[in-house]
Amino acid sequence: MTDDTPQAATVFLVDDDADVRASLSRALIKRGFQVVTFADALQFLEAYDPEQSGCLVLDYGLPEMDGLKLQQVLSERQIGIPIIFISGHGGVPETVQAIKGGAVDFLEKPFRQKVLVECIEAAFAADAEQRTRDKERILALSRFAKLTQREKEVANFMIANPSSTASKEIGRELNISPRTVDHHRARILEKMNIGSVAELINLSIPQSDRTV
């Protein structure tokens, strides 16, 4: 977890105005941020690797593909990088649309550096949290995949019916003895590296990843 500190995160700045790019990147670098700038949305799309953590500071009014469009494309590609819109227009409808699309914030130009930095830090935090959740989920999935056929069936039943996790009920339902259920349950907790059934349910592994 130590390699996921905010310092390692990158600010991706997309703005068509060179002066804005220069001043902003300098200011952010001066404050210790790692900054990569792009003149338009396509350049960013080409260069960005979803594995890179950080946030996107995106000008709303870009030529060719504007900020909203880029937001839409990222959403389609299931890239969850947090977006901070900066705009010279700053109309209410635009703001509404951007926030609806999942933007972290919407700043009207000119904005105070402090505000931007706060937004960026918040975005980094959100991004880091998201990435941690994703990692845990992937770990849980890989452990779930190691379960035997019967163990998966038992786990699935417990996830699907959180209110009836007694060995008797499970055994009746799956037509096996409660003792066997107990045995499976211990193996599941051990393999999934968790302490209780409640923790298993909290992992909320998607249905599609739990196929037997």
């Binding site: 804005v20 300098r26 009207e108 000119p110």
Partner: protein, 646 residues
């Protein structure tokens, strides 16, 4: 219709009656002349027949008397030997028949009894020649009307021998009643003719010849009484070309080379008209016993002639009639001239009446026209009462008034739209300028503010701290943000114009904007092609959407006018989608220059443009919940407007 109603009316009313009168006059002109000429022919025929009949009747008594005398003397009822009885008989006959001028009898022995009318000393004179034993006695006895002897004398020198006379010789030679050639008495200058008949005894042996002298001057007298037209005349022409009788008897006598008197030949006749008329009469006479009608011209004037052989007489005489046509039709011609003048006057009067009538007919029409003109100039309200006029015009007026009212209503609507449009355009323009400026200024302000922040943090890090520099930089940063606040205020100014949205008929709005741009479209010779299917009501700010349409249409007009092509049209179409209507504006212009950044403030291809039109339009459309874009492939501007859902 190129002509005015007044002109047509006047022309037809005055012109038609003129044509009618002209036709009547012309037909009567032709038909009356022909009728009169036919009538004149009839008159001439009757005059000829009359003259012929008269002449025949005139000659008849002579024939009868001769016949009577012949029978009496033939039968021996009256002895030819008794001269006293014969003289008495002849006297009686002479006194009964006035046209007889003398009756006489000569026998084979040379005896002669001759009773004739005389000028004096008594009204009758008897000449007696008796041959007894070779002794010849010639005695004259004059008597009065009572047969009493007035005077008597003897003429021993008299050598007259009846047997040598042509009448005696002809009658004896032919053994039948004969007519001599007519002759003119040397003494009286009167024309006469003799009819003679042979007398036979019971053994059919010729005893003598009885003769009657007929005074034919009376025929001339009758002819002079006969009227043939005004100046026409009838006369008697013998087959050998001599004029036997003529209304002017003095003209017919001529002195022969031997001193005797004779009838004048037609070719020597003193009247040139008569000569011209009948110079070729022999050719005309070849048609036996039939009346011959012909025409000729003399001195430019037309004449009619008739040549009629007198029927049922033993004489080769013909009635010749001639008359100038003018005699019969001059009256008609005069009448015709009068008629033409009369017709002209009537034409003038009826023409005037026609004009007055057309004026009368036209007055309500003109009043209506004046009123219509006043209405169109707005000086008279359409609601004012109509002048008295025709039903048709009233109906037309009603339609027009309706049309005018509808147009006024439309005009009012258009003006309203126009007014709102110019207001909204102004507001939008200002707003868009503000927004555009705000955007353009926000960029450098952002850079300035960021750089200041950075500079400030650098300054704060320096040791020892430069308080003055920090304070300057802080102030600068504040000032940059004040600039930002002004821009934000400008933006909110634009956002305040939250005009009401409402459902409206998009097709109607297209029609109205088209009308607003009519002048520009016409000046550019541009046709507008509208394809709008039935649409649901669209929802938006009507005036703002009108501005978008006008903006796109103006751009299209400018593009077409600038391209200077023959193909000049703008096509506006609309498509109904589930939640919105898509509008497409296509023009025949060259399309958008790829170097132009569309929808961006202050970017324009127009020398006088601000480059705000499209950005304003986009703002309007997007504020209303639609989109505005340029379809490069189709060369079309397209925008969407939300509409009522089903």
């Amino acid at each position: 219709m190129r002509y005015s109603l007044g002109f047509v009316l006047a022309l037809s009313l005055a012109g038609l009656q003129f044509i009618a009168i002209l036709i009547v006059v012309l037909t009567s002109y032709v038909s009356s002349e022909r009728a009169i000429l036919d009538h004149a022919r009839g008159l001439m025929d009757r005059a000829g027949a009359n003259a012929a009949e008269h002449t025949k009747r005139f000659l008849e008594p002579a024939t009868e008397v001769t016949e009577q005398a012949r029978r009496i003397l033939d039968s021996g009822l009256l002895s030819t030997a008794d001269t006293a009885v014969m003289e008495r008989y002849f006297f009686e006959l002479l006194s009964i028949e006035p046209q007889l001028s003398g009756i006489y009898y000569g026998d084979e022995a040379g005896n002669f009894v001759y009773v004739m009318k005389s000028d004096g000393p008594g009204p009758y004179r008897t000449k007696l020649i008796s041959i007894e034993a070779g002794q010849r006695t010639t005695e004259y006895i004059w008597r009065d009307a009572e047969y009493s002897v007035v005077d008597r004398s003897f003429d021993p020198a008299d050598t007259y021998d009846p047997r040598r006379r042509p009448w005696y010789e002809d009658a004896r030679g032919l053994a039948a009643r004969i007519w001599t050639d007519p002759y003119i008495f040397f003494s009286s200058q009167q024309p006469g003719i003799t009819v003679a008949a042979p007398i036979h005894d019971s053994a059919e042996v010729l005893r003598g010849v009885v003769g009657i002298d007929l005074d034919i001057a009376d025929i001339s007298l009758f002819l002079s009484d006969l009227t043939v037209g005004e100046t026409g005349a009838a006369f008697i022409l013998s087959d050998d070309g001599r004029v036997i009788a003529h209304p002017d008897p003095a003209r017919i006598g001529v002195r022969n080379a031997d001193g005797t008197m004779g009838f004048i030949g037609i070719n020597d006749f003193s009247d040139p008209i008569v000569r011209a008329a009948f110079a070729d009469f022999k050719a005309q006479l070849t048609v036996a016993d039939q009346p011959v009608r012909s025409e000729f011209e003399f001195a430019g004037a037309p004449f009619m002639t008739l040549l009629l052989p007198i029927p049922d007489i033993d004489l080769p005489w013909n009635i010749a009639v001639f008359a100038p046509e003018a005699d019969f039709i001059q009256g008609i011609r005069d009448n015709r001239v009068r008629n033409i003048w009369f017709a002209v006057m009537i034409s003038a009067v009826t023409g005037a009446v026609g004009l007055a009538l057309s004026e009368l007919i036209l007055r309500p029409v003109r009043a209506f026209a004046v009123r219509t003109a006043l209405v169109s100039q707005g000086e008279v309200s359409t609601g004012d009462p109509l002048p008295r006029t025709y039903k048709e015009l009233r109906a037309a007026n009603a339609t027009l008034i309706e049309e005018i009212a509808a147009r006024r209503r439309l005009d009012v609507k258009l003006q309203e739209l126009n007014r709102e449009l110019s207001h909204v355009t102004r507001v939008n323009m200002m707003g868009q300028m503000a927004t555009g400026l705000a955007h353009e200024l926000s960029q450098p302000l952002t850079a300035i503010s960021q750089n200041l922040d950075t500079a400030l943090s650098i300054a704060k890090m320096e040791e020892p701290a430069n308080g003055e520099l920090i304070s300057i930089l802080s102030e600068l940063d504040e000032q940059a943000h004040q600039g930002g606040d002004i821009i934000r205020a400008l933006r909110s100014l634009m956002r305040k114009d939250k005009s009401s949205t409402q459902p409206f008929d998009f097709a109607e709005l297209v029609g109205q904007t088209q009308r607003l741009l009519r002048q520009e479209l016409e000046a550019g010779g541009i046709a507008v092609d509208v394809h709008i299917p039935p649409l649901r009501m669209v929802i938006g700010n009507r005036v703002q959407i009108a501005q978008v349409l006008i903006n796109l249409l103006r751009n299209a007009i400018d593009a077409i006018v600038g391209a200077d092509s023959d193909n000049r049209y703008i096509r506006i179409s609309a498509l109904q989608f589930e939640t919105h209507v898509e509008v497409r504006v296509h023009d025949s212009g060259p399309g958008v220059d790829p170097d132009i950044v569309l929808f961006k403030e202050f970017k324009t291809s127009k020398p006088e443009g601000l480059g705000l039109g499209l950005s304003i339009s986009r703002t309007i459309v997007e504020t209303g919940g639609g989109q505005l874009w340029y379809d490069e492939g189709a060369h079309q501007f397209r925008f969407t407007v939300p509409c009522e859902t089903l």
